[in-house]
Symmetry: D2
Subunit: 134 residues, 4 copies
Amino acid sequence: MLMEQFNVRFYETDGLAHVSNTVVVGWFETGREPIFRMFTPELDLQNWPLILASYNVDFLSQIYYGKAVEIRTYVSRIGNSSFETLQEVWQDGIKCAAGKTTLVRFDYTLNKAVPIDDHVKEQLQEHMLDSDKA
Amino acid sequence: MLMEQFNVRFYETDGLAHVSNTVVVGWFETGREPIFRMFTPELDLQNWPLILASYNVDFLSQIYYGKAVEIRTYVSRIGNSSFETLQEVWQDGIKCAAGKTTLVRFDYTLNKAVPIDDHVKEQLQEHMLDSDKA
Amino acid sequence: MLMEQFNVRFYETDGLAHVSNTVVVGWFETGREPIFRMFTPELDLQNWPLILASYNVDFLSQIYYGKAVEIRTYVSRIGNSSFETLQEVWQDGIKCAAGKTTLVRFDYTLNKAVPIDDHVKEQLQEHMLDSDKA
Amino acid sequence: MLMEQFNVRFYETDGLAHVSNTVVVGWFETGREPIFRMFTPELDLQNWPLILASYNVDFLSQIYYGKAVEIRTYVSRIGNSSFETLQEVWQDGIKCAAGKTTLVRFDYTLNKAVPIDDHVKEQLQEHMLDSDKA
């Protein structure tokens, strides 16, 4: 599991005095930064190696301003050229949101998916959901 | 079908020179505004009648700055206290993203789901996916 | 004067049930798009010709969800390599915010300011604050 | 001086592969959270005690993804019902942006400015620019 913790930002709330649902996908992206570094240690935007194919988020409990949130990130599937993350938002001991994201190893010059390198697969493997639970 | 059209905003792009995936759920929220008005014609934040339960988005083609996008919104399911929207982002004749969102008729004071009024169900029905396709 | 009109987006509100002050600089950027086109008609991100040097915003009246806003954009100063815009947010007949932004004609490859072309200066001139007021 | 440090988020970059200027006012808001707590220790959104009157930001050097940023916050003026902060963004030993924000002690029910409590003034005083430099 990868973990990232930060305070809710005031502007991330909305008129209902809770965190806007639109914010969570950005938090999840932020939680994936250690995974980005497996593919591009320098986080090189000029040769970015990934594209996002899909995401879903289930909202389980409202998230509020004034308390830190914790983003937990697992790898839930590793394929040939794509992989999936399972991520959760925790606040005050409560799992508030959970979602899966599918990312593809992508060559922006060729405009197509390419296989994930073996040494990257090994690093992803270390954060697999099952190996954490075991 | 409900339709909303606007220009991509410069700050909605990211370092890959395309629109950030994190932006699309906000666009979909914006596309649902006519649906919000079915539940609260005055868009009254003090008595907001809905909560978002989940969403998913499939990203089909990159979205770019400099051309307008069109958000198409259908109702894809109507339940007792919840309903689902199917929404699409179109740019330059291409369907770039599609996603479903589940919303719940919610009483923030009681902190629980309540049934959708019949007259609102009728309005939702007018935008059902099937009735559009028929 | 250049004008742009759109609805406030739900996620642009914050926990005080008004529009977050952090949103307005993005709206102003959006209002400057016709000015961007004077410098790069294709809005070419690969050869972007401008960099932002500074901005300020005065907040005069709260902005709310549920009503359209209008962004009014004037050119308030034209220099050799830089120029300034004066922009306003109007909602419901009230001027809610006003701000100035200084932009510089910039060569990202050379990493330095360069003079504004004369034909661009002429286009900027058409939107000068004084010529509008006259 | 108050200090806050965090990583640049991927979605905070724009199509020029640097951090969007529109992001910085949100970072500054986040850097002011310890000041918000002087006025409302519980960060109570239902009785929020402040409103933002104006801000300005000078952009001194481009900010990039992949390195942490540090937000430094000073109090630069204390008035009867308003005060001003001076804030800076530092990255990699470089001051990248600096800005001032004027905030007003505000009663949202009365819709008017009210005096800042003396015990809050004392707390603000501890972070005055001069006392830091001394």
